[in-house]
Amino acid sequence: MLDFNCSRRQFLGIFGGAAAVAGLGLAGCGGETGGTAAGSAGGSSTLTGTVTYDGASSFQALVEAAAEQFMAENPDVSITGSGNGSGTGLTAVADGTVTIGNSDVFAETKLDADQAATLVDHEVAVVGMGPVVSLNVTVDDLSLDQLKGIFSGEITNWSEVGGEDAEIHVLNRKSGSGTRATFEAAVFGAGAEESTFKGDAELDKSGDVQTQMGSTDNAISYLDFSHFDETKFKAIKVNGVDPTDENVTDNSFPIWATEHMYCQEDADEVTVAFLEYMLSDDVQGSLVEEQGFIPVSSMTVVKDAEGNVTEK
């Protein structure tokens, strides 16, 4: 009896050791397995594989909605991702930690030239971005110069731009944010470096800006049109022009961005298929507008990586 007990425990002990070693072995060779799983999992006609994305929070809702449709049509595909900012997305796709990087800005503006050159751009939508102010602010129109003054810290009181005597609270996004880059490029002029002025807070995501704008008086920030929420804050005119989609299409409202989805040149089949789907009529025809974005096809102007706007 005792003998049996002993050997069983002995066995357990050795088994435990073996399990630990096996665990490490598994960890060691996992890279290859992961590679094949993520890589060329397909083969037959049915598309299988995994797509991961990261990047701009401004149009994540659009990507997610498209992904839901795409997965409904391709049951063996898994698309997953998050919105941690354009800079994060571009870095992640260049490093290979995700297969698609979403960005409000051209890859060239965030990455080294040779790194950016390995990425393939897909322009999936256009979105306008505009300044938003707290509900208690009486100002409803600001010129680009006034915005420049506010976001560079030169104008600090609402009375200087025609409002009541109250300090301006500037809510910025983190420096990796594409919304911030787009907004500053439009306000400070194309090609200008990001401002060194920091404001009263730097927030991670568009959703955080919505929340903080809703609970802070005398504040100003900027958001893309799809995140506008009249119950929490007001969107204001820029140079007297309303922030509407129509005004964006001909560049009369000057702050807007093209939404880019980047993948590696040698991206796997399923990633390419999903990006093609993003550009197909299934998404461009209806979903883009449903989610509050502007199809690229309806734009009468284009913007290049340096921020120059030209007629189409």
């Binding site: 994060t88 609270h169 910025n172 990796g176 920091k198 807070a201 730097e202 802070t216």
Partner: protein
């Protein structure tokens, strides 16, 4: 099968399996230290950032290139100052409360302490840091807004309060152990001399437990210094020299969380962030060193 193994080889198996595990852990730690140090130091060696500028510069802005050097602004002083500010303020808040509670449950109501207070404080240890952050974001920030009549309410003060709550259980539990370790004969001697209970606590118990109490405090500070997400949720995230306790600021850890994934591995910006990581690691090694020095000098701590 295993039964037939000769005893000597059985012993060898045991030694090698357990030895391998220890070696593995040691190896991982060494690899981590080397890797963090290598990446962190390459900011200075490879990218040519001036060491002095890094630690004394007051402008931290990775997105903007400094015309003078052609490198991003990597003056980490604001982050370092903020990190120390939240650590020290939170310790100052938590310390009297923690030691006071420890005295109460060891010296005044030991039964109550063991039965109710300690389980309750252990419960506080278990609460995840994001939950502390969430409460800070909703309750403490609103309170700061109301009390100081400010718009944002984010900054060092709410960060310190949240951290104080988080390190309270660490310091309290360790202080309780420290006070319990004081031999009863000290107390009896003091009481027999006609000292009151408070005099006994103040002059005898606390004095003899001082080294262990200091260890407790430093362990608390280590936790405060390295805490990340709870602070991020209430501090605002502006990387500039703090001018007041209720203005948005950013610690070393919060800057790491928000910027780490943004910059590609190998870029100057990424290296600068690793230097911050190296700084964090260096500080925690420094804290350990102090604990060892205290242990070597005074009464041997509990371990």
């Amino acid at each position: 099968m295993a039964k037939q193994m000769p005893k000597r080889s059985l012993e060898k198996v045991g030694l090698s399996v357990t030895g391998a595990c220890v070696a593995l852990v040691t190896l991982v730690v060494v690899a981590l230290i080397v890797m963090v140090a290598q990446r962190g130091l390459s900011t200075f060696i490879k990218d040519g950032v001036d060491v002095l500028n890094f630690f004394t510069g007051t402008v931290w802005n990775l997105a903007v290139t400094d015309e003078a050097t052609g490198l991003p602004f990597t003056g980490a002083l604001p982050l370092i100052v903020t990190s120390f500010a939240v650590t020290i303020i939170s310790t100052v808040i938590a310390l009297p409360i923690a030691i006071g509670s420890a005295i109460y449950v060891v010296e005044i109501q030991p039964k109550f302490g063991q039965k109710y207070f300690q389980p309750l404080i252990e419960l506080l240890v278990g609460i995840p840091s994001v939950v502390f952050g969430l409460i800070g974001f909703h309750v403490i920030v609103s309170a700061v807004r109301a009390i100081f009549n400010v718009e944002m309410g984010l900054g060092i003060l709410p960060g310190s309060i949240v951290l104080a709550l988080m390190i309270l259980p660490t310091i309290t539990t360790l202080s309780i152990d420290a006070l319990r370790a004081v031999p009863d004969s000290y107390r009896q001697g003091s009481l027999a001399l006609g000292y009151t209970r408070w005099q006994t606590i103040w002059h005898v118990v606390l004095k003899s437990a001082t080294p262990s109490l200091m260890t407790a405090v430093i362990l608390g500070m280590t936790r405060a210094f390295g805490e990340t997400l709870a602070v991020r949720m209430v501090i605002g995230g502006v990387e500039a020299m703090p001018t007041s306790l209720i203005d948005s600021a950013s610690t070393i850890t919060t800057t790491l969380t928000t910027s780490m994934a943004v910059y590609a591995t190998g870029s100057v910006q990424n290296d600068a962030l690793w230097t911050l990581g190296l700084l964090l690691m260096g500080m925690s090694l420094f804290f350990i060193l102090i604990i060892h020095l205290i242990g070597a000098k005074g009464a041997k701590s509990r371990g």
